[in-house]
């Protein structure tokens, strides 16, 4: 078994008196793709935001390469440089061109030389077929193109893992495919990913493991085909019936 990259232990999160995560445990190993499935409000997004410290957790522990992120000596900004997060609504920076969106993190967070990162960024854009759009502003791109740029923006940080938060949910159905294709490519190349998604086909074909969340708990977890095709729990079965 390869090295554990991210480990969540009994993570709890409350907003006011509403408990969103009730003790979630999950591990993500190097080169592994894990899909989080579950209804809206089951805690998928919150879980991802707790993993990169955008949200402070109320109980349990989060470890990156065996290092607890709750240690007071840990700098959240340094943690986030190793964990890419891609959002449902892209959140590209509208005042920056595509290339500058990608350069912002490496240049200003990692302090890497601009010219060097620029060459890498153009290569990444080449891979997603958008090199010609490097100087365009995000609002000139389609939703699918914007989301692929957002993924590349995360990749340019050379993260140890990618968190993806329902990255196709805001897209026109005709544009979903191009984003899923990119994720499939990344999975083949061994990118470590934790993917919250409603795309069951993608989960079945690409994920190594699937975890089903409900009421802020992992109800069922296991190899993708086992969970999706032969769910053990009634709740999982009921959910899969509804999304099918």
């Amino acid at each position: 078994m390869s090295e554990v990259v991210l480990a969540l232990h009994e993570v709890q999160k409350r907003f006011k008196d509403h408990a969103v995560l009730n003790g979630v445990s999950l591990t993500l190993r190097r080169h592994e793709v894990v899909c989080l499935i579950g209804a809206s409000g089951s805690g998928k997004s919150t879980l991802l935001r707790c993993a990169n410290l955008l949200e402070r957790i109320d109980g349990g522990d989060v470890e990156l390469f065996g290092q607890s992120l709750l240690d007071p000596r840990v700098d959240p900004d340094r943690v986030r440089r190793h964990i890419g997060l891609v959002f449902q609504s892209f959140n590209l920076f509208p005042h920056l061109s595509v290339i500058d969106n990608i350069l912002l993190g490496p240049v200003h967070a990692l302090k890497r030389p601009r010219a060097e990162v620029r060459a890498e960024a153009l290569e990444l854009l080449e891979r997603i077929g958008l090199a010609a759009r490097a100087e365009d502003y995000p609002d000139r791109l389609s939703g699918g193109q914007q989301q692929r740029v957002a993924i590349v923006r995360s990749l340019a940080m050379r993260p140890s893992l990618l968190l993806l938060d329902e990255v196709t949910s805001a897209l026109d159905p005709t544009l979903v495919g191009e984003v899923l294709d990119l994720l499939t490519d990344l999975a083949r190349q061994g990118t470590t990913m934790l993917v919250a998604t409603h795309e069951m086909g993608f989960a079945r074909d690409v994920a190594h493991r699937v975890a089903f969340l409900e009421g802020g708990r992992v109800i069922e977890e296991g190899p993708a085909r086992d969970v999706l095709d032969h769910p053990r729990e009634g709740a999982t079965r009921a959910f899969l019936e509804r999304v099918r």
Partner: protein, 294 residues
């Protein structure tokens, strides 16, 4: 009447009313011309034909007195309203530059998150509350008559115009700080999340992501405040600084004719109208851009 709801479709009347048709196209042009002449002509007639119309025109709009007030004649005891405007101009220029900087500092303090900056956050909040709440005229009195009483060397030995300028900076910084802050808060939260997720610090996020976007939305309201600041330089006259309003007042009490005030008003309009037009132009352009983007 029956309709599709009770299963009986009725051919609807699709024609515009007679009145609507009359006002469309060329008819509309004629209508606006006629209503323009009637309304504006009517207002002019009131001024022209009022019982005291002639007296009023003599005291406020007499070309001879207006010119005399404009060029001034210190040997006869009154100053040039035109030259007075130069004082308003430098007060405005200096105050504007300082207000933009001090306002930004205040807004940054209020928006800061570091625990170390807590006292600044508190002070900045108190400052904006207090100085948006006190009439500028009172601030001018307090600064203009208070600071000289302190006997604090340099601080207490400035000219009235400088105290007036300082008062404007004190008041307007509070307003401008709020404009900046509103601009920053108008940026969608996802922008902050995306930037922090890249591992950028709060300060870098502000500088590279939030502020560049906020500045664009903030320019029209900021220009509005600056137009207001331009006019409020007239308030400095209460300290005795001879700017354009004060010069007009002196002219009025020396020559017993108020045409100087009209001159001052026209001079202010010459300053402010281009800026209001420019602001409206920016607002229209931003709106067009937003509509195109949506």
């Amino acid at each position: 009447m029956t309709s599709a709801i009770d299963g009986e479709p009725v051919p609807p009347d699709l024609f515009a009313s007679r009145r609507q048709r009359l006002l469309a196209g060329r008819g509309g042009l004629v209508a606006s011309a006629v209503s323009g002449v009637v309304v504006i002509g009517g207002l002019a007639a009131v001024f022209w034909l009022a019982p005291g119309g002639a007296t009023m025109r003599y005291f406020f709009f007499n070309p001879h007195f207006m010119w005399q007030a404009f060029i001034g004649d210190p040997s006869k005891g009154f100053y040039s309203v035109g030259l007075g405007l130069l004082t308003n101009l430098w007060i405005f220029a200096l105050a504007e530059a300082l207000v933009l900087v001090v306002g930004l500092l205040l807004a940054s303090a209020r928006l800061s998150q570091s625990p170390v900056l807590f006292p600044f956050r508190l002070l900045a909040t108190a400052y904006t509350d207090v100085f948006r709440g006190i009439p500028i005229l009172l601030v001018i009195f307090i600064v203009g008559f208070g600071l000289p009483e302190l006997n604090l060397g340099y601080v207490s030995s400035q000219s009235p115009a400088v105290y007036g300028c300082a008062s404007l900076v004190i008041s307007y910084s509070a307003y401008v700080a709020e404009v900046y802050r509103a601009g920053v808060l108008s940026i969608p939260h996802g922008q902050l999340l995306a930037s922090r997720s890249l591992g950028l610090t709060h300060a870098t996020t502000m500088r590279r992501v939030i502020l560049p976007q906020a500045v664009r939305t903030v320019i029209p309201p900021l220009l509005n405040d600056l137009i207001s600041l331009q006019k409020d330089t007239a308030l400095v006259s209460v300290l005795g600084a001879i700017e354009t309003t004060r010069a007009a007042q002196i002219y009025g009490s020396t020559v017993f004719n108020f045409s100087g005030y009209t001159v001052a008003a026209i001079l202010f309009l010459i300053l402010t109208v281009p800026m209001t037009r420019f602001t409206d132009h920016l607002i229209a352009r931003d709106r067009a851009r937003r509509l195109a983007g949506a």
